[in-house]
Amino acid sequence: MELQGSPYSLISLVFLADATGRVLSTLNDTLGLMTPSQNTILQLIDPADRIKAASFLSAISSSGSALCWEMTVPGAGIPQVLQFSACSVSNGLLVMAVGGVSDLMLVTAFAETLDEELQASLLQLVQAHRTQCGTQMVYWDALMQLNNELLDLQRQLAKKNIQLERVLEEKNRVSGMVAHDLRNPLAIMEMYGEYLQEETASSASPQVTEFLAIQQRSLRFMRGMVDDLLDFSAIEAGYLRLERQETDPAALLKEVVTHQCTLARRKGIEIILLPVPACPVLLIDPDKIEQVLNNLISNAVKFSHAGQVIEVRLTVGEGEVEVAVSDHGLGISLENQKKIFQPFGGPRKIGTAGEKSTGLGLAIARRIVEGHGGHLRVQSVLGEGSAFTFSLPA
């Protein structure tokens, strides 16, 4: 294949100048860079690089030469970065500019046409320029080495990442399997427990009745936990399947609140559904959102005291519907607010009436909401209560 523009444009510019940079005579100019109006080095260089050009001149006057200075020349059309080198000669400064090291060959060839003194100076200058560029190669090599090492790290990281992913998958698979295997025996125990409760309702001593009731509560709690664990490992394994259908969120909310009200009343707590505004139909998985609502409201009940009120509010915003559940109960410290959405992350808090939590509810709720493209967040003050708010895109 052929390249359009070669970066080696065969540039060789050689001229004599006085100590102030005024051009005395142009010796060689393969690209025609030097025009009659440019009679100083400063004028030859792009304005942006003129401070550098002035430094170039002072470097020559202080040390007799300056090597391989990269400066931009406006040229005819596209600006070019040239490498400048210069040294003092008997009648002023000998200045050379090339496009790259390979152009030095041109300068060398041109030098043969000069008188002996200038030829010697120019050849020396070319040699010094070449050596200086060699020093730059050290940096190119160092840069490539740096890049190689970065890539080594990246490879290690990619490999580690995939190993971690595998371990996580395996872990989820195992916990899913365990939960699944626990579920059947638990259901059987619960069923026989219920049977025993009914059979012995009239005959058993009050103590046996109480023990059976405790056992049934524990079994129910355990089954809830196993269900949560199954839900959670399915979601973590990427199996959050949303069966979206057109749903009226206000109707769904009313239904859940009504159901939760009966449970809350047993604890002497009231749930108030604030007036619901006109609300768009949403494309959501109603069962999953119901699960979220049940989780948030039952948590509020769990952590409220008898006589307190829980408010549930639905608002319609720009492109989204928001539901907030606020209580005036125990509240959550700032530090714990960061952890409660992690599985088993929050403190294993006991409800005001001794209720237990599986430790997975909020983690599942957040994943369900995020799976819908929404957000679930908390605002809370310890001792004053909490407000959980989630949004769903309309």
Partner: protein, 361 residues
Amino acid sequence: MLVENDGITENPNKLAGDYLNARRAELAQFAMHRQYSQQPELESGYSERQKIHALEDMNYHLQYLAEAVTRESPLLFEDYLRWLKVFLPRVGVGEGDVVNSLAAVKETLSEMMPVELAVLPTRYLAEGMIRMTTLPGDLPTVLGESAPMALLATQYLNSLLRADRRTASRLILEDVEKGASVRDLYLGVFQPVQLEIGRLWQLGKITVAQEHFCTAATQMVMSQLYPLIFRQERNGRTFVASCISGELHEIGLRFVADFFEMDGWDTYYLGANVPTTAIISSLKEQKADLLGISATMPFHLSKVEALIRDVRQSEVGRRVKIMVGGYPFTLDPDLWSKVGADGSARDAQEAVRVGEQLLAE
């Protein structure tokens, strides 16, 4: 040094190579005088500058000759001649002058070197002078239209030459999405593009900056494919890859490590800056079955040899198989045995095949 520490007598080829290296400057001077006395028109016609260059060239002849002789590898020397034939006309040196300069070196060596040491170098020079006439004088592109993925490779290269690595990367990722295999992209796009970049650089069509950029960008694109590479089922085998310290050419070895990984091996890529002791402990730690060493610059071959020797002396080294590869090993198919390895391969695909074979033995 005639005898190594462990008491084994050095092989005569290495002695000849050491001799050429130790007395290179002097031999070059003699050869230069000889050529000038045979071609007085050169001495009078050359400028001072050209004379310096001509002497430098004599030095290079001897340097590459030394490496080829040490390894008993005429093919390494032939590659140098191939390079000379392309390069020298560009700086105004004719083929005839090159052949004459080789002849001058040959005569100088016959005269000055101990007879038993001069045999191999003078033979390589004599063969080289004949070979010189039939070697190609141009650098053909490997991206010809007949190459299997030439179109994609050319588009990819053009994007890189425009400093547009995003398009380059998009081209590759889109091809992956269409079902292209990572192996094909490595061997059909990245490898020929690297060689083409080398060619363009030698022709003076691209700068050092462009060459470095293209390589770095390709390394980056390769890393975007990592998620595909590391997904294979493991086969229980482990490959550790290491370059020689100071070797900057490492894409080749990266290819090899990634191909092993895609074949289900567990691979560890150590790069070029790991000392021998750390390589050995890594072999032990990872329970490696195979060590791969890569070198591109011929003057790194003695380091390869030393590394292999050190590894073999370690406890873990006794059960690990060792493969070598890289540019010089692709030139000379027997070179691997001369540095003490168990095998080599010309490319990454073949490397996996040979690696499996070695372990089956």
